[in-house]
Structures are given as structure tokens and as C-alpha cells.
């Protein structure tokens, strides 16, 4: 066979045809639903939702896929069944009227039955066949056929007949669900998995430390890929829903869009822009450090931009939160009434962790918010181990990031200690970590906030004092100086002291400047005096020098005259010379010239 041919064979490999169940999430983890035209086994302990799963398969089939369904009940009669599922939003009566659904109650009680020899279950086959034909059923549920083991005395006959029944269902081409009770160690109490081997689904209802969690697992799906994990599922007013929440990879888009935190000074600490959209932020701190207030600010700002916010409080009720936030000037009620803010409060112990997550994801997918707040996330660890809660949080964060939802988680730090192990564990999931700390000094408690980390931005490394006012939270620059980090009154006092110190220092400087100026003045004055004296003395000296020179010149002339014999009176000529110095100057030059000549 050529490679091309074999490739085509692979491509043409017939895919197992599947029937969508219409159960939220289930079709995702099975890649399309249950195997078409084959029986599937749904096993689980009492009260784990088998009947509901089956009924939803039929109801959704009838409504969404126009496939009529037959529900063969071995335990509850039509009326009981109709009532039970009505509370989950199924209008079974209407579907029955429209011949899209049929409920057939097969009652089998051992007390009425005596076995007297060879027999088969042809009566059941006839009955099923007749019912299927009546509404042209494409989907069939047998809930739970194991009741027959209690009713019919001959197990050997029953087993061979069940084998025939499942074969027969296949031949009829109906997609069937056979429910079974979970047995010890086995999938079913009576080993039905031996007969129904195409698809086995296990429903589980575990109670650990008084908290129940429902989980679903596809044990086996012949001829198909399927998720093998345990998936939490919910049974609520919308019926049965499975949440395929295990993250597949780290491929979420990273947004460069920024969003304000609602606190201008906090924005300032984050490059003046706030959080990245779609990022996860952890706000941790001891109780009463203002975590919820920060959350309220973020919500208030988001709602003001017209974004939808979903708040999961695990400690306080909605009215309590709204009242408390009113006291710091944040009116959340207006956003609630405008449909932009929704609260979904729950006590941590109401469900198990998985169920909490499932519930949260469901709410998120339904409300489609831009911002989600979980307050506080630490309460969820109370219902599980730190490992589980981290796994759960990872899934939640992944889901939120995948949907570009900005998340804010608050975390309660016990006591006044540093971030505990749990926070250290989950912090790696967080993009931004704001730490609120109580600073207790001088008989008062002040709140300090700092950005422990913030991925992808150059955030401030400084502690700010976090003050709650009736106009919201304010961040103030704390006093950080040689005396340490001071907040509150100590900060105010220290600031005043500093101001005084600065004032006195500046006074001193001014004084010195003045002294310097006056010294300079004095110096300048002295220089001026010296200049004046110099001028005066130098002119005197010049005069004296001139006179001296004149006298010298006169004397020279006289000597010349004397040499030539023309001198008459040396003393009188000296007087004359002083009077007519300038005239004699040339005469002296002449005299020099004359001396050169001689």
C-alpha cells in the first residue's frame, strides 16, 4: 500500500457517531456525547444523580435534538418522577403530551413472584419494543435495571436475558443509558459493566469532612478519546452540568490594556496606569486591613466604566458588604440595580472545593463579567487541603485568564505574621500582589500597603500608608527616615518635627548668608579704602619721583653747562628747572644726546 493510500485510509477512518446529551460540559469531555445506537452504563451510589443525568439526556434530546425518549423506570412511578424532575426545570408532562417523552414504570416485586421453571424476559422485551414503537424513541433509559436482581429469583436466567436485552437495544439502534448502583470495588453492584461495555460513566458523591462533592468520570469509552479526569458536576435549578475545568495549557493571550484600580494613588504605584486587563491580583493582609475596600474600589471603577463585575464573597452577605462600603463612600447598590454588579455569596462549607469552583465557573460563564472578585480566597482552603485549593485556584485563574477577565483575590493572613505558606504557594499564580500590613506603633494601628510584585511593569517599591476615609481609600506617602517607617500620628508628629527642623536650619543658613554678605561688604569697603589710600599715596609718590627726576635732570644740565663753561649760577638754575620741568625735559634729552656725542 502506498503511503498516500494509507494516509487516506486514516483520514477516512469512520468516526464513532455520537449523540449529544445536551448536558452542559459532558459533551465536551466525551467529544460529542454518548455513542450513538449503543447502550451506555451510568453507575453511581444512591442519590448521586443517575436518574437526573438520564432524564436530562432524554429531555434535552426531545427539546434540542427532536429525538423522542423513553424512560423505563424500575423504581419510581411516572408521577413521582415527574415531580422530582420538575424542581429542576423539566416540564416532563408537556413533553409527554407532545409524545416526545414516555415514562414507563416497570414494577417488579419479589414478594409477588413465584418461580416455577424455565422462563425468559420476553415480556420486558415486548413491553420495551412496544413503547419504543409508540413514540418512535431514539433514546432509551433503563433506571435502574438492577431492581430486577431483587425481584427475579433466578439470577442465571436474568443475566443471560440482560445480555440479550443490551444486544437487542443495540439492534434496535436506540441510544440507551442503563443506570446501575455502584458496588464495592466494582463499577456496579451486579457487574453490569460486563454487558454494557461501550461506555461506562461513573458518578460519585463523596463526603469528606462533612462536605460533599459530586464528581463524574468517564471510565471507559470504546472507540473514542475522552477526558479521563474526575470532573465536578452540579445539580442545581438548571439540572445537571459537568464542568470540564482542567486547564489544557498556558496559552492565554496577554493583554497590554490597562485598567484603573479606582484608587488614583494605587494607580500611581503601578506605572500610573493600574492593573493589566485579564491579570490576577492578590490582595493579602490581616483581618481588617482593608482588603475588601480595595476590592470595592476596583469594582466601583469598573462599573463606572460600564463593565460587569461578579463578586464572590465567602464571609459577608451582600447587604453587609454594601453597607460597609457605603461607609467609605462607595455606593455599590447603584451598580447592582443597573445590573453591572452581581453578588454570589456562599459559605465555604456549603460545598466541596470542586463544587465551589464548578458553581463559580457557571456563574462566571453565565454573567460574562469583566472583573471577578473572590473575597477571601483563603476561606476555601478551610474545606480542603492547600494542595487541592491551589489546584482549584489554578483552574479558576486559568479560566479567568482564558476569558480575559480581570480577577482580584483577597487573602486573609492570620495574625500579624508575614505572608504564610499558602499565600507563598498561590502567589506564583498571581500577576500582582498587593500586601496590606497593619503597622502597630505608639498605641495605634495603621495600615500600610505596598506592591510586593507586579509582573510586566515597573511598580513602586515604597510603602504607602493606607487610610480609609469617608470618601474612599487614600494612599499617603509614609514617613521613611532615620527614625524608621512612621505612620499615623507618629508620622504627623515626625513630619512636624521635620518641618521645624527644616525651618530652623533654613533660618540658620539665611543668617550665615547674611553674615557672609556683610563680611563681603566689609571686605569690599576695606578694598575701597585701600584703593583710595593707594591712589592717594601713589600720586604723592609719583610727584616725588617726578620732582626727583627733575632735580636730577637739572643737576645734569648744570654739569653740562659747567663743562661747556656756560653755567652762571648752579643754585638758581635748580630753581628754574623745577619751574620749567617740561622745557628741560627735552633739554635733558639733548643733554644725553650731547653726552653720546661727546
Amino acid at each position: 500500500m502506498s503511503p498516500a493510500k494509507s494516509l487516506r485510509r486514516v483520514r477516512e477512518r469512520p468516526q464513532l457517531k455520537k449523540v449529544p446529551t445536551g448536558i452542559t460540559g459532558f459533551d465536551d469531555i466525551t467529544g460529542g456525547g454518548l455513542p450513538r445506537g449503543r447502550p451506555s452504563l451510568v453507575s453511581g451510589t444512591a442519590g448521586c444523580g443517575k436518574t437526573l443525568f438520564s432524564m436530562q439526556f432524554l429531555v434535552r434530546g426531545a427539546i434540542d435534538f427532536a429525538e423522542p425518549g423513553l424512560f423505563v423506570s424500575f423504581e419510581e412511578n411516572e408521577q413521582e418522577l415527574t415531580q422530582n424532575v420538575a424542581s429542576l426545570g423539566f416540564d416532563v408532562a408537556d413533553l409527554i403530551k407532545r409524545r416526545l417523552l414516555m415514562i414507563d414504570f416497570v414494577r417488579a416485586e419479589q414478594s409477588e413472584i413465584e418461580e416455577t421453571g424455565d422462563h425468559d424476559l420476553e415480556g420486558l422485551f415486548v413491553r420495551l419494543g412496544y413503547a419504543i414503537d409508540q413514540i418512535k424513541a431514539k433514546r432509551v433509559v433503563l433506571d435502574t435495571i438492577e431492581a430486577l436482581f431483587a425481584a427475579l429469583p433466578n439470577e442465571l436466567t436474568l443475566r443471560s436475558e440482560l445480555r440479550r436485552l443490551f444486544r437487542w437495544l443495540k439492534d434496535r439502534g436506540v441510544t440507551a443509558i442503563i443506570t446501575a448502583e455502584r458496588g464495592e470495588g466494582e463499577f456496579t453492584r451486579h457487574g453490569l459493566e460486563e454487558y454494557v461495555s461501550d461506555c461506562v460513566i461513573l458518578l460519585d458523591h463523596r463526603v469528606i469532612e462533612q462536605v460533599s462533592t459530586r464528581r463524574l468520570r468517564v471510565v471507559k469509552y470504546r472507540g473514542s478519546f475522552h477526558g479521563t479526569n474526575e470532573y465536578p458536576f452540579l445539580i442545581d435549578e438548571d439540572g445537571f452540568s459537568v464542568l470540564p475545568i482542567t486547564s489544557l495549557g498556558l496559552d492565554h493571550q496577554a493583554s497590554t490594556e490597562r485598567m484603573s484600580t479606582g484608587i488614583a494613588q494605587l494607580d500611581a504605584m503601578l506605572e500610573n496606569k493600574g492593573f493589566y486587563r485579564g491579570s490576577s491580583t492578590l490582595v493579602s493582609g490581616t483581618s481588617g486591613s482593608g482588603k475588601s475596600s480595595i476590592a470595592a474600589h476596583v469594582i466601583d471603577a469598573a462599573c463606572a466604566r460600564g463593565e460587569r463585575c461578579l463578586y464572590f464573597p465567602f464571609e459577608e452577605s451582600q447587604p453587609q458588604i454594601m453597607r460597609n462600603m457605603q461607609s467609605i463612600g462607595i455606593d455599590l447598590a447603584r451598580w447592582v440595580s443597573r445590573g453591572l454588579l452581581r453578588f454570589h455569596p456562599a459559605r465555604p462549607h456549603v460545598y466541596g472545593l470542586e463544587t465551589h469552583l464548578a458553581m463559580m465557573l457557571k456563574q462566571i460563564s453565565r454573567f460574562d463579567p469583566q472583573v471577578v472578585v473572590v473575597d477571601p480566597i483563603t476561606n476555601l482552603t478551610e474545606v480542603s487541603s492547600p494542595l487541592e485549593s491551589k489546584a482549584m485556584l489554578t483552574r479558576l485563574v486559568d479560566y479567568l485568564k482564558g476569558n480575559r477577565i480581570t480577577a482580584l483575590f483577597t487573602s486573609l493572613t492570620p495574625g500579624a505574621q508575614q505572608a504564610d505558606m499558602y499565600e507563598a504557594g498561590i502567589s506564583s499564580l498571581m500577576d500582582t500582589w498587593l500586601l496590606l500590613r497593619n503597622l502597630e506603633t505608639n498605641g495605634e494601628r495603621n495600615r500600610g500597603l505596598y506592591v510586593l510584585k507586579s509582573r510586566g511593569m515597573s511598580h513602586s517599591n515604597q510603602i504607602r500608608e493606607f487610610v480609609l476615609t469617608d470618601r474612599g481609600a487614600q494612599l499617603l506617602d509614609v514617613y521613611a527616615g532615620p527614625a524608621g517607617v512612621l505612620t499615623g500620628t507618629a508620622r504627623i508628629v515626625q513630619e512636624a518635627q521635620d518641618k521645624a527642623a527644616i525651618l530652623s536650619a533654613s533660618n540658620e543658613i539665611a543668617e550665615k548668608q547674611r553674615a557672609l554678605a556683610s563680611m563681603k561688604d566689609a571686605m569690599d569697603a576695606q578694598i575701597a579704602t585701600l584703593h583710595a589710600r593707594f591712589a592717594a599715596e601713589s600720586s604723592e609718590l609719583n610727584t616725588a619721583i617726578s620732582e626727583g627726576l627733575l632735580a636730577l635732570a637739572d643737576q645734569g644740565n648744570i654739569l653740562g653747562d659747567l663743562r661747556r663753561g656756560r653755567a652762571s649760577n648752579g643754585s638758581s638754575s635748580g630753581k628754574k628747572g623745577a619751574k620749567h620741568g617740561r622745557q628741560y625735559q627735552s633739554g635733558r634729552d639733548n643733554g644725553r644726546a650731547e653726552r653720546a656725542r661727546t
Partner: protein, 109 residues
């Protein structure tokens, strides 16, 4: 198709008389060996223990599948004792006579 077997009178279907003590209904599905055995065994029993005071209605579910629901028939063959009350159900080909008699309250349990 329901077939009535009435040894005392040869009346038509559903001809219940007040004085008849035994009203029996045998559910079968076609003419299988099991069903034929059951019918034969039933007739013999009735002759022997009911002094001819009985009525047997045979219902073939292949012909009337809708009737399977009424008496909650699962196994074939099933014998239903409609009268005397309370209703009793006996499944199988009725070859274990002692058990049939117990099932019909002709022997103490």
C-alpha cells in the same frame, strides 16, 4: 389475542361468573416450547386441583404488546392469578408443580 379456556361452559371471552373461584391469566409470547409447556402444565394442574371451577385467559404479547404493562409482565411465561385475590404471579413453565401450588396458595408457604 386472548384465548379463554373454560371447561365448565363454552362461553366467549371475559365471561366471568360470580361463583367462579379461579380466574387465571397466562401470558405467553408466541408458540415457543416454554409457552406450550406452561399451557400444558397449567391445564393439568387446573384439572387436578380446581375441580373444573376455573377460567384461563391466554394472552399472547406478540399479538397484544400493550397488555404487558397492565399486569407488569416481565417474564414469559407468567401466570397471573386474578381471582381469588390477592393477585399472584407465577413465572416459568410451571414444571415445578409444588412451587406452582404454593404460588397459587393451594399449599401453605
Amino acid at each position: 389475542m386472548a384465548v379463554n379456556i373454560n371447561p365448565a361452559e363454552t362461553t366467549g371471552e371475559q365471561s366471568g361468573h360470580e361463583h367462579r373461584q379461579w380466574q387465571l391469566r397466562l401470558y405467553v409470547a408466541g408458540q415457543t416450547p416454554k409457552c406450550l409447556t406452561a399451557l400444558a402444565n397449567l391445564k393439568k394442574l387446573c384439572e387436578e386441583y380446581m375441580d373444573g371451577d376455573y377460567q384461563i385467559e391466554i394472552i399472547d404479547l406478540l399479538q397484544q404488546p400493550q397488555l404487558a404493562k397492565g399486569d407488569q409482565i416481565l417474564a414469559i411465561p407468567t401466570l397471573v392469578r386474578k381471582l381469588p385475590e390477592p393477585v399472584r404471579k407465577i413465572i416459568g413453565d410451571l414444571s415445578q408443580t409444588e412451587r406452582v401450588l404454593i404460588g397459587l396458595d393451594l399449599r401453605p408457604r
